[in-house]
Symmetry: C2
Subunit: 435 residues, 2 copies
C-alpha cells in the first residue's frame, strides 16, 4: 500500500483540543491515510507551549518540543514536508507559517483570525513558494466549504452566501426561540453547558463570525475581503420580544454572515436577522453551523454540520492534509487561491436589506399615514404594516421591502424624532425572503 519507504514528514504546531485530535487521527487512521495519499504520513514533531500540559490524547514525549521555529526549520528530523498550524491567533502563527512555506513545506491551517486579518500575505507566500496552503478547518469547522466553493462551483457564479457560522450564538438564539428566554439567561445556560466561553465577547459580538465572513466572501467571489471590511453587529441586543416578533411573522432570529455580489462589488456583514421558518437555514438548531450558497446555475445549496469541536475540526485538517500530501507527491499544487477578481467592497450603507421595525406610537388618527410618509421620504417601500391598539397608545410593526441600509437607517433615525413616535422599540434586518 505504501510506496516503499517513502514517507511524508509532518510537523504539528499546537496541541490543544484540535491538535490532540489531529494526533489521534494521524495514529488511528495511519493505514487509510497511507492508502489515500500513496505514501506513509509520519508525524515528526509537535510544538507545544508547555511540555507537561494535560492533553486529551497522549503524545509520545520524544515528539514534543517547545521550539516551534526549530521544528519548522527542520532542526529535529530534517526538512519537513507538511506543517499543520492549529495554534491560532496572529503571532507566532503567521511567522511560523511563512517560515514553513519558505522552507518548502506545504501548510494546513485552521487559523481563521489570521486568514481574515492577513490572508494576502500567506497566499502570496504560498504562491511564491509554489506550495499549497489549505484551510478548510478555518471556516465552519468540519463542514466542507473550501472545495465546494473553490472547485465544485468553479464553473458557476456565486451571488450570495448566507452563513450560520458561530455555534455559540446559534445555540443562544435557538434557546431564546425554544424557551422564550432572554439573552442573558440563554447565555448563562450556554456557558453552563460549555457552548460559550466565560468571556463570550468574540462569539456574541460577532467577531468570530466576521472573520469567517471575510474568508467566505474571499472564497466565493475570488477576491480579497478582510475582517476590517465586514460590518459587524452581535446578538447581545436581541430581546425576547424580538424573537417573539419574529415568531409572529413566521420567522426566526439567526446571527447571519452575509456575503453579496452586486454589480461586480462585494459586501460582507454579520448581524442578527429574521429569516422565514421555511428557509433551510431556519432548521439549523443548537450549536450546528450551516452555509447557504446561491449561485447562478446551481441555484440554492446548503452545507450543514458541526462548526467547532476538536474531532470535527481535526477531520477537516486531515482532509486538507491528504490533499496537500498527494499534491506534494505529484509535485503539483491544488486549485489554490483565485483572487483575480479584485472587487470593490461596498460599505454597509449601500448594501440592500429589509427591515422589521417595531414602533410605539400615539393612538390617534393620521399616525399610520405619518409613519408611512417617513418611509416614503427615504424612498423605502413598505411591504406590510401590522397595528396593535393598546389602551391609549398603539404599536406598529413595519416590514420594508429591500432598500439600501443607509435609507433604512435614515428612516429609523427620522422616526425617532417624530412627535407621535414614543419609541422605536426594535429594528432588525430580514433576510432569506423574496423581496
Amino acid at each position: 500500500m505504501s510506496e516503499g519507504d517513502k514517507a511524508l514528514k509532518v510537523a504539528l504546531l499546537g496541541c490543544g483540543s484540535v491538535g490532540s485530535q489531529v494526533v489521534r487521527l494521524l495514529t488511528e487512521q495511519a493505514g487509510d491515510l497511507a492508502a489515500r495519499v500513496g505514501a506513509r504520513v509520519e508525524l515528526v514533531g509537535v510544538a507545544v507551549r508547555r511540555l507537561e500540559a494535560q492533553r486529551e490524547v497522549e503524545v509520545p514525549a520524544d515528539l514534543l518540543t517547545t521550539d516551534a521555529a526549530g521544528l519548522v526549520r527542520g532542526d529535529f528530523a530534517g526538512p519537513v514536508d507538511l506543517v499543520i498550524e492549529v495554534i491560532g491567533g496572529i503571532e507566532p502563527a503567521r511567522s511560523l507559517i511563512l517560515a514553513a512555506l519558505e522552507s518548502g513545506a506545504s501548510v494546513v491551517t485552521a487559523n481563521k483570525a489570521l486568514l481574515a486579518e492577513d490572508g494576502s500575505t500567506l497566499f502570496e507566500a504560498a504562491e511564491k513558494a509554489g506550495r499549497d496552503l489549505y484551510y478548510e478547518a478555518a471556516v465552519a469547522g468540519a463542514i466542507p466549504i473550501l472545495r465546494p466553493l473553490r472547485e465544485s462551483l468553479a464553473g458557476d457564479t456565486v451571488t450570495r452566501v448566507l452563513g450560520i457560522v458561530n455555534g455559540t450564538t446559534n445555540f443562544i438564539l435557538d434557546q431564546m426561540d425554544t424557551t422564550g428566554a432572554g439573552f442573558a439567561d440563554a447565555l448563562e445556560e450556554a456557558q453552563e453547558l460549555g457552548y460559550a466561553e466565560a468571556d463570550p465577547t468574540a462569539d456574541v459580538e460577532g467577531f468570530d463570525a466576521a472573520a469567517k465572513a471575510a474568508i467566505l466572501a474571499s472564497l466565493a467571489f475570488h477576491t480579497r475581503v478582510t475582517a476590517a471590511d465586514v460590518h459587524r453587529e452581535g446578538i447581545s441586543e436581541v430581546t425576547a420580544a424580538d424573537v417573539q416578533s419574529a415568531r409572529e411573522m413566521g420567522a426566526v432570529v439567526k446571527l447571519l454572515a452575509i456575503c453579496d455580489l452586486r454589480d461586480g462589488a462585494v459586501s460582507a456583514r454579520v448581524h442578527p436577522a429574521m429569516i422565514p421558518r421555511a428557509h433551510p437555514l431556519a432548521s439549523v438548531r443548537g450549536a450546528f453551523n450551516a452555509v447557504f450558497v446561491e449561485s447562478e446555475a446551481a441555484g440554492e445549496l446548503m452545507f450543514y454540520g458541526p462548526g467547532a469541536g476538536g474531532a470535527p475540526t481535526a477531520s477537516a485538517v486531515l482532509g486538507d492534509l491528504v490533499t496537500v500530501a498527494r499534491n506534494r507527491l505529484a509535485e503539483t499544487r491544488g486549485a489554490g487561491e483565485s483572487s483575480y477578481a479584485d472587487r470593490a467592497v461596498l460599505p454597509m450603507g449601500e448594501t440592500l436589506t429589509r427591515y422589521h421595525v417595531s414602533i410605539d406610537v400615539d393612538d390617534r388618527p393620521g399616525v399610520l399615514a405619518a409613519v408611512a410618509t417617513a418611509f416614503a421620504e427615504q424612498g423605502v417601500s413598505i411591504q406590510t404594516v401590522r397595528q396593535e391598539g393598546r389602551e391609549d397608545d398603539a404599536h406598529l410593526v413595519v416590514v420594508s421591502h429591500r432598500a439600501t441600509d443607509s435609507a433604512l437607517a435614515a428612516t429609523v433615525a427620522h422616526l425617532r424624532t417624530m412627535e407621535i413616535v414614543r419609541d422605536v422599540t426594535s429594528v432588525m434586518r430580514v433576510e432569506g425572503g423574496d423581496e
Copy 2:
C-alpha cells in the same frame, strides 16, 4: 489572464437539457473559466443525435456533428483534451468514454446509470490512461458530494450515508405529507408540474435512487458497489395512512438511499422510511435533494440542493471541467478513485433496521401478549406499542428496536399467520433515530 495561446480542447457528447446548459456556461463564463483554469477552454465540437433538433441554447452549426466517435478520435479539430459525456445510458456512452480515455483525454460524465452498472471498467481505464474521470453531476445533481466525500473527509471514516437523492419521489412524498393526498393523486400532480415523467417507473420504483446509492457507497467506503448490490423498494405502495401514521409518531416518510459500514462490510439500500421530523433530512422539501453523512470524527454533515435540472447539473459538470483542465495543464491527476478497501456487501437480510408495523387484531384479552411474543421469538425488541380500540376489533402500532431486516421480515410473516391478526396493514422501516 490566459497563458498565451494555450487552449484546452473540449468535446461535448450530448446536447439535451444538461448539454445545452454546458454550452451556455462555457460561453458566458469563458473569462472566469480561463482565469480559474489558467488557459482558454475551447469547445471544439458537440455530438448530437440529430443536427436539426430544437435546443434550449443555440449552438453554432459548425460545432455540431452526429459522429461522436469521430469527434472523440480527433477527426474534427485534432486531439481533444477533455471530453464531457452527457448522453446518459450504457451505450454508446461507455464505448465513447473508453475511447476518449484511450486517446488521452480526461473525462467528465454525468452518467449515473453507467457508473452504477460498470464503474470499475471506467475507473480502470482512467487509471491505465493516467487521466481524470470526474462525475460530480452523476450524484445529487448540483450538490457537491464528490470532493467532500473523496477529499474533505479523506482523513476521517464515513460510517453512514443517508440520502434523499431523487427529487420526483421527494416531491410526491412531500405532497402526500402536506396535503394528505394518496400516492396516485400526488404522482398525477407531479406529472402535471413536470416533476415526474409520463412513465415514472425509474423514479418511483427507486431505480434512479439505487444507481446513486451504489455510487455514494463506493465513494464513501472506498470500495465498489454496483446497482445490482443495492436492495431497492419504491414508493408506489406508500399510502396516505402510512404518511398519517408517520405524522402521529412525529415523523415523515422519505425515500432514502442508505449506505452503511458495519464491521468492515457495506450495505446499500433504497426504500421508503420514516424519519423523525427533527432530523435535518426531514426539512428537505419539494424536489430538493440532500445527502446526510455520518463520520467518526466530523460527526453529522448534510449537503443540500437541487438534485436535477439542466443548469444545476451543468454547474456540477463545469466544476469538474475546471478541475480536470487544471490537472491537465499541471500534468497531474486528481484524487481519483480509492477503491482499495474491497469490502464485502451485506445482503439486505443482515442489515440493521427498525420497523413500524400497523396491525389489525381481534380486541380480546391476550392479544398484545401474543403479538409481543411473535416479536420476541425472532429476537426483535419492541420500543413502543400503541393500541387503538375500535368497536369489535383493535389496531396496534408497533415500533421495534434495531434488528436484522430478516428477523423483522420473519416476524411480520409470522404475524400474518396468526389467528388473532386480521391484517398487517402497513410495514415501514424507521431511520434516523437513536436505537
